[in-house]
Amino acid sequence: MNDMMFWIVAAAMTSLVTLAMLWPLVRRQGGSPEAHENHDVEVYRAQLRELDQDLERGTLAPAEAESARAEIGRRLLRAADNANGKGLGAASWQRPAILATIVLVLLAIPVASTVFYATMGNANLPDQPLAARQQPPSQGDLQLAQLVERAEARLRDAPEDGQGWEVLAPIYLRLERPQDAANAYRKALDINGPSASRFGGLGEALTDLANGEVTDEAKSQFERALEINPGYLPAKFFLALDASQEERASDAETRWTELIQASPDNAPWMQIAQAGLADARMRLGKTDAPAVAPMANGAGAPAAGADGTIARGPDAEQVAAASQMSDTDRQAMIEGMVAQLAARLKDNPEDVEGWKRLIRSYTVLGQTEAAREALAEASQTFAADSAGGREIAAFAEEIGLSAREETTTQ
C-alpha cells in the first residue's frame, strides 16, 4: 500500500521532470539566438550611458570621461560592425536529430533513475518517525507509561524510596532507557543494599548503554551479582556473552555450557547461548561445522552495505538478537521466569520471598490484575497474624498494592 503510493508519486515526479526537460525540444521552433556581438553592443552602450551619468554627477573628470568614451566607442563600433550580417540563427538541428534526442531524454531520465533507485533505495520501507512508533501505545504500554510517570513524580518527592527505584528500574530497561535504568538501579543499590538482581539489572543497563557491549564496568556488576547468588542465570548469560565478545574462546565455551545446563529448555536466551557455544567451539577448533557466526564484539553502528541497507549477515543478526533482548525477548524472558515462579509456588506455597518476588514481577510487567490475584492467593496461604502473613501485607502496602481495593494507590 505504502509501496504503491511511493511509486505513484515517484512516477509523477519523474514524468513531470522529463516533460519539462523535453519542452524546448517539442516546441515547433525556438527563436534563433542572438549573435554574441549584439550582446556586446548592448553592454558597451550601457557603459556609455553610465559614463554620461558619472559625468553629469561630476564624479568623473571631463578629460578622463573623454578618453574612456573614445575607448568604449571604438569597441562598440567594432562589435556593431561584426554584428551586422551575422547571426547564429539558421544553424538549427534537423528533425531526425531532434527526434533522436527526445527519445534519448525520454528514456534516459526515467529508466536511469528507476534502475539506479531500485538498486539503492528501499521503496517498501516506510518512514518511522519516533512519535509514530511510540504511538498509539497499546493498552499495556499506556498503563505502563502512566505508572512510570506516577512513580517518577513520587520519587521526585521522596528520592529515598528504595522500593520505588527498585520497581522502576526494570521498567526503564524495558522502555529502552538504559541511562535511567542504570541510575535507578544505582539508587536501589544505595538505599536497599546489594542483591543479585540489583547488580544484575545494573549490569544489564550498562550493557544496553554500551549498545550491547558488556563493558568492564558492567562485567564487575554481574560478578558481584554472582557472588551474592551463584545461581543467578541472567548474570551468567551476560558474563558468557562478554567472554564471546572478547574472544576468550575456552572461557566462553565453559560459561555457555554451564549456562545451557543450568537453564530450562525454553529459556529465552537458549538460542543465543547455543550460538555462542557453537562459535566458541569453532574458535577452539573443536567442531567442523561453523554453522553460527561469531558474536560480534560491540554492537555499535552497523556498517552500511552498498545496496543502501544494512548488511545483515548472520553476524549482524546475532547482534540484533542480543540487543533485542531488551525488547521482545526480554519481555518473553521475564514472562517465562514469572510463569516458572508461579508454577513452583503452586506446588510449594510456603515461600514468602517467592510470593513477594512474584507479586513484584507482575507489578513490573504492568499486570496489576495478576499481581492482585497473587497477593490474594498469598494472603490465603498465610494466616493474617502469622509472620509470613504480616510480611506479605507489609510488602503489599509498600508497593502500593491492595488485594481488596479496585485501584492501585500510590
Binding site: 525556438g30 550582446h39 534516459a108 518512514d127
Partner: protein, 663 residues
C-alpha cells in the same frame, strides 16, 4: 515514504544533471536554441529536486526517524528542535547534500536571471555547472548517501557531537558553503569562455556580481566560524591557522583578488586572461578545501568522521576539474584577445598590486597547509606547521598590501597621479601618525610593532573615508554641494569605502588583541578574586545543574569595576552522557568592544578550588565587526544598478549613431 521520495529525488536530480551537462553543450556548438534551453530547465528542475531531497532528510531529522542511518548516527530524540534541524548539516552526508543543494541553487539563479546573457555563454555555463553537480551527486550517492536505511530501526539515536550543538553551527556551514560554492559560477563562466574561445563583453559584468555574492557569504562564514571557535572551544583563540580554517581562507584571498581583477576587466577589458585563471584558481581552492576537510588527510576540529574511499573519490573530482580546467586554459588562453593598456601607476596598476600580494599570500597559506602532507607522503616525516609559520610569512605580505589600499581608489584609470593621490591622503596619514605616537606614548615606547599596527589600521580607516570625501569633493565644492554629490555617488563607491573601512576595523581588532591581551591561569576558591583588564573578577562559587541533554558544573563570577559590581558571568563545563563527552562553555562578558573571557578547568582533588583561565581581550569584537562591514560593503556594491546587463535590441544602427554623436 517521504524519506524514500527524497532518495528518489536525489537520484532523479543526478539524471537531470547528466542531461544538463551534455545537451546544452551540444546545442551551443551547433547553435541550436532548443538544446541550449534545456540547460535552464535542467538547472531549475535540479534545484527543485534537490530541495525535495533536502526537505525529506530534514523531515526525518525533525521526526527523529531513526530508520535513516544518518539520523540515527547524528541525532537524538531529546535534542532541542533547533539542533535537530541544524544536525542535518552537522555531519558529513548531510553537509554534502547541503553543498549540492547550494550548487544547484546558484545554477538555478543563473538560469532565472541570465535571460539577457548571450545564449551560448549561458548554455555553456549551465553545462559546466551540470558537470560539477553530476560529479558531486555521484560522490554522495556512492560514498556518502544520507538516505541509507536501517531496518529494524533503533529506538534512540547516538546524538550529535555536543560541540556542534550550538547556534553558531546553525549558520556557519551554510554561509561558508554559499561562499565556497558561489565561486563555482565564476569557474563555470571561465570554463565556458575557454570552451567558446571568446570572452563576451558581458563576461566580467556578470562574473563580478556572482563573485561578490560568494565573497560576501564567505566573509561572513569565515567570521562566524572564527567567532564560533572563539566562544565554543574555550581556548580564547579566534584564529588557529588550523588547516580547515586555511581551507576556507585560501578561496577568500583568491576570491578577493578575483573581485578586484574582474573590476579591471569590466572597466578596461584588461587582465582578461589573468581574471579567467583566477576564477579557475578560486574555485579550485574551494574544491581543495572540500577535499581537505572531507578526505580525512587532515586532522582538525572540523573534520567529521572520515573514510578513505571518500578521500579518493574527492581527489579524483579535484584532479578532473582543476586539471581539466587548467589544461583547457593552457590550450585556449592564447586564443583570447588581450585588452586595454595601462601605466604601472594607475587604478589598474594598483589592482594588479593587490592581486599580486593577495595571490602570493594565498600561495604561502597553501604551502603551509600542504607542506606537512607532502613531506609525510615523500619522506614519512611528520611535522606541524602552526601559527608561527603563518605569522612570519602571511604577516609581512599583508603590510605592503594594506599600505597600498587607500591609494587604489584615488588613482585614475589608465594613467594615475601618485603624487596627487598622496596629497589627498595627508589627512589619513596624519591620523595614522597620531595613532602611532599615541600607541608609543601609552606603552612607553616599548611596543613599536603594535604602534605601527595601530598606524596601519587607522591609515585604512581614515583612507577609506577620505576616498568618499574626495569623490564628493567636499573641500572643493563646499558642504552643501558636497553632500548632494555624496548621496549621488554610485553605490559601488560606498561599497568599496565600506569594505576598506571594515578591513581597517578588523586590523585594529587583530593588532590590539594580539598585542595587549592578558591571560591568567590560576586556581580559585569561592571568594577569591583576580585582576584582568582593569576589572576585578570575583569567584562566587560553583554549582551543578542539569540541562536537557547534559549536566554541567557552573562557576559564577562577579565582575567589579573599582569595587562596584558591574556584571555577572557564568562559565561551565558540560558533560553529555549520550556521547560521554565533556565540553567547555566559556563565560564571556562584553564591555564596549572588549571582552573578559573566563573558562573553567578541572576542580582540584579536594573539590574546594578550581582551575580558572581568564583572558582580557581588548577590542576583540572589532575583528568580527570589521568583517561584517566588509560583507556590508560587498552587499552595497551588489545593489549597484550598473551591474545589470541589458538585452540586445534589434536596432543596430542606433548604436552607431549614438557613438558617432558622442565621440
Amino acid at each position: 515514504m517521504i524519506v524514500e521520495l527524497g532518495h528518489f529525488a536525489l537520484i532523479l536530480a543526478l539524471s537531470v544533471a547528466i542531461i544538463q551537462s551534455t545537451l546544452p553543450l551540444v546545442g551551443a556548438r551547433g547553435g541550436d536554441q532548443r538544446l541550449m534551453e534545456i540547460g535552464s530547465i535542467g538547472a531549475t528542475g535540479g534545484f527543485v529536486l534537490l530541495a525535495v531531497a533536502f526537505s525529506a532528510l530534514t523531515a526525518a531529522y525533525v521526526t527523529s526517524d531513526f530508520s535513516v542511518l544518518n539520523v540515527f548516527e547524528n541525532s537524538h530524540s531529546a535534542k532541542p528542535m533547533l539542533f535537530k534541524v541544524t544536525g542535518v548539516w552537522g555531519n558529513h552526508e548531510g553537509s554534502m547534500l547541503l553543498w549540492v543543494l547550494i550548487l544547484a541553487f546558484f545554477g538555478a539563479l543563473v538560469a532565472l536571471f541570465g535571460r539577457d546573457l548571450p545564449a551560448t555563454l549561458k548554455a555553456n555555463v549551465l553545462a559546466v555547472q551540470g558537470w560539477i553537480l553530476t560529479a558531486f551527486l555521484l560522490f554522495i550517492l556512492f560514498t556518502s548517501n544520507p538516505f541509507t536505511r536501517l531496518d529494524p530501526a533503533p529506538m534512540e539515536g547516538q546524538d550529535l557531537n555536543p560541540i556542534l550543538q550550538d547556534v553558531g553551527l546553525a549558520i556557519h556551514p551554510p554561509l561558508l558553503y554559499l561562499g565556497y560554492v558561489g565561486f563555482s559560477i565564476a569557474f563555470s563562466f571561465a570554463v565556458a569562455a575557454l570552451i567558446d574561445g571568446r570572452i563576451d563583453a558581458a563576461w566580467a559584468r556578470w562574473v563580478r556580481p556572482w563573485t561578490l555574492v560568494a565573497w560576501v557569504f564567505l566573509t561572513l562564514g569565515i567570521a562566524m566560524g572564527s567567532y564560533w571557535a572563539y566562544y565554543e572551544l574555550g581556548w580564547g583563540g579566534w584564529w588557529f591557522w588550523d588547516p580547515v580554517e586555511n581551507a576556507s581562507f585560501m578561496p577568500w584571498l583568491a576570491g578577493t583578488a578575483l573581485l578586484h581583477s574582474a573590476l579591471v576587466m569590466e572597466k578596461r577589458s584588461a587582465l582578461k586572461i589573468w581574471t579567467i585563471l583566477l576564477a579557475i584558481l578560486t574555485f579550485s581552492l574551494s574544491l581543495l578545501g572540500t577535499f581537505l576537510v572531507r578526505s580525512g588527510v587532515l586532522t582538525s576540529v572540523h573534520a567529521f568522521a572520515t573514510d578513505p574511499a571518500r578521500g579518493v573519490f574527492i581527489l579524483v573530482i579535484l584532479c578532473l576539474f582543476i586539471g581539466g580546467a587548467l589544461a583547457l586554459f593552457a590550450w585556449r588562453a592564447s586564443e583570447l584577445e588581450g585588452g586595454g593598456l595601462f601605466a604601472p601607476i594607475s587604478r589598474e596598476g594598483a589592482l594588479v598590486f593587490n592581486n599580486l600580494f593577495l595571490t602570493t599570500a594565498a600561495a604561502t597559506v597553501l604551502v603551509g597547509t600542504l607542506y606537512p602532507l607532502l613531506l609525510e607522503v615523500l619522506t614519512g616525516e611528520k611535522i606541524s606547521v602552526g601559527a608561527p609559520f603563518f605569522d612570519l610569512t602571511f604577516g609581512p605580505l599583508m603590510v605592503p598590501l594594506l599600505l597600498a589600499v587607500p591609494f587604489g581608489p584615488l588613482l585614475g584609470w589608465k594613467r594615475g597621479d601618485l603624487l596627487a593621490a598622496g596629497q589627498r591622503l595627508y589627512f589619513a596619514a596624519g591620523v595614522a601618525l597620531a595613532a602611532m605616537i599615541l600607541g608609543l606614548a601609552f606603552t612607553g615606547g616599548t611596543r613599536v610593532l603594535a604602534a605601527f599596527g595601530f598606524a596601519l589600521a587607522f591609515w585604512l580607516i581614515a583612507g577609506s573615508l577620505t576616498d568618499l570625501f574626495v569623490r564628493a569633493s567636499f573641500f572643493k565644492a563646499g558642504w552643501r554641494k558636497g553632500w548632494a554629490r555624496l548621496t549621488g555617488l554610485p553605490r559601488s563607491a560606498f561599497g568599496t569605502a565600506l569594505a576598506h573601512f571594515g578591513l581597517g576595523i578588523t586590523v585594529l581588532g587583530v593588532i590590539t588583541v594580539s598585542s595587549f591581551e592578558t591571560e591568567t591561569v590560576t586556581t580559585m576558591r569561592p571568594g577569591d578574586t583576580v585582576e584582568a583588564g582593569g576589572y576585578t573578577l570575583h569567584f562566587d562559587g560553583a554549582s551543578r545543574r542539569a540541562g536537557p541533554n547534559y549536566e554541567e558544573q557552573v562557576g559564577t563570577f562577579t565582575i567589579r569595576d573599582g569595587g562596584v559590581a558591574v556584571a555577572e558571568t557564568e562559565s561551565a563545563k558540560r558533560f553529555y552522557p549520550a556521547r560521554q563527552m565533556p565540553t567547555t562553555e566559556a563565560g564571556i562578558w562584553t564591555t564596549w568592544f572588549s571582552q573578559l573571557y573566563v573558562s573553567l578547568g578541572d576542580p582540584s582533588a579536594d573539590g574546594q578550588s578550581i582551575v580558572v583561565r581568564i583572558w582580557w581581550k581588548p577590542l576583540v569584537t572589532l575583528i568580527w565587526i570589521g568583517s561584517v562591514f566588509m560583507a556590508l560593503g560587498g552587499t552595497v556594491s551588489l545593489a549597484d544598478r550598473r551591474l545589470r546587463v541589458g538585452a540586445p535590441t534589434r536596432s543596430r544602427g542606433q548604436a552607431r549613431d549614438r557613438v558617432a554623436a558622442g565621440a
